[in-house]
Amino acid sequence: MTPVDVAVQGIAYWSPTLPGWTHARTWLRGEGRPLAEPAPLPSPAILGVAERRRAPESARIALHVAAQAVEAAGVDARALRSVFASAHGDLAITHDTCTTLARAPHELSPIRFMNSVHNAVAGHWGAATGSTRASTAVAAGPASFAMGLFEAAAQVVTVDEPVLLVGYETEPVGLTGALTGARTGNVGPCAVAMLLGPRRAREGYVAAWLRMRWVQAGAAPVSTSRDVDPTVFAAWQPLLAALAQVDLPARASIRAVIHPLELFVQGTMFS
């Protein structure tokens, strides 16, 4: 397989104690600290006034970082294909839905059901931006973000245009914590967005170059053992840490592994 090369044109991040890429980048460089008090959930301006107050946690954090990444890249959201990746979707909605179904299934709210489908966040993004470009919602267990990243990059090299990637996970509620094994630890609900573009990006800002290789060759199929789901946020950190470092002196190329991908991040000053 030929390595896939893309440009990273915009980055955004949100978690309650690192409520922005500036915060996260500083912390990842060892130069700062997370907030002592968690920040409130964002209310993304891209949703209408009423929508942003009643939107579920997943939509609020995902659309917030999506809008920020697009703005950081300096491209038009309407022109973008998009990939939304999450292992567990909105766990508060899963909890709510299953609680209602167990108690009084005929009382299930249509809005809640509508927001429970995995592509609801993608649907909100499309309605908010008016983009009619292809959009997808994917999952791959602990490899959800890696596979979403690969899917977005594959689309970039196939259509030769920028593609928006959004990864998000939410706070487990009720039984969903024990059942899914999802642990958010002290990171809380979390979302990351990247605007990926062609290696020869023709418009907008370029933050870094990214090369990815497949490293899974020969691996055994994933086991079905009772292991607790590894903290999915840990899967983002190698790439985010690399992106946080790219403009430091003498950093020609930084290697990061997010199974099953091997990533090489290069700052633009070395291109």
Binding site: F113, R133, L179
Partner: protein, 404 residues
Amino acid sequence: MLDLDAPQAHPPLAVLAATATTAAGRGRDALHRALVEARAALVPNDVSSQPLTTMVGEVAGLDAVVLPAALARLDCRNHRLAWLGLHGDDFAAAVATTMTRVGAARVGVVVGTTTSSIAATEAAYRDQRAGRALDAARHEPALHQLHALGLFVQVALGAAGPALTVSTACSSSAKAFAVAQRWLNLGVCDAVVVGGVDSLCDSVLFGFNALQLVSPEACRPFDAHRRGISLGEAAGFALVARAADAPPDVPRLLGVGESSDAHHMTAPQPEGASIEAAVRQALARARLDASDIDYLNGHGTATPMNDAVEAAMVARVFAPTLHASSTKGCTGHTLGAAGIVEALICLLAIERGFAPGTVGCGELDATCGPQIRRHGEVRRVRHAMSNAFGFGGTNAVLVFGGAS
């Protein structure tokens, strides 16, 4: 805005094997027979944990399916259905043969599903509410995640290449073909198992009921008096490879088109501009004209809105000689499996020279042009198209051709 990126970036795929298990029965022959007989394989719902009066496409015999020990921890209705699907038409054996040739690490899996194994999570909540000790077997984390299906299929087949679950409602397993096309084109793998499985569960039955999209009677696609959908469950799979590497005597996936409505979560964009864009993108990538399509399997869910918008688009884009129909009156609306099931129906149309009619349609709606047909027809089908327009405004269109 039309998305007419270069066709050569999306080379055709060979379909080495394909199968489906639906309410109409197990495997290709059962499905073909039901369509020839114009049979509505819908029965009164008895799957939900509390009564809900609706007609559904239920797959018989799932309670009797016993999974092998290695997969017991992933036991749930959706995976039993997947198991039946994988063993229809010797599909698993075809995958094993390919895997021997290219190696397990070079076989990818991409599946579509809307609710996956959510029924297992629903059951755990019912146990908790009833004060029953939570069944330890139900606590398998791998079971309580959307990708449980993708994982199940990988382990069941022994595949070790990339694996992904696409969950974009009714377009899921149609979009899965586009993912496979990209993986194969990039050389990440040499063969991909593309599939879709969705099963009847409380979330989907009570959810669509809450949205008032469910018909009180068997669904009537494109009918002047249609009253909504009939939900169904199904498992479908296809084994695809680069056409250049495959024998010439197998059918081809020639093109995929994708778009979004950007309109509303549960109602289609009324002018049909984005579904038309997906159709035109699929045709452009297949290097075909609308006039080259002999059979169109519509999305045709029997909701008042979808069918009106889709019928108007078909009348606008295609010649009167096109034979178009919806088959959801036969199988029910199989959600995440609809893409793959209806892809197989297109392949059967090509293979067997029969274009199915629209089961459940008594009187065509006024928005239908001459293309939408109530009755099936024996005719040569060189190229067939399948529409999958999902909840949330996510659209995918597939174009298939016969052996070259």
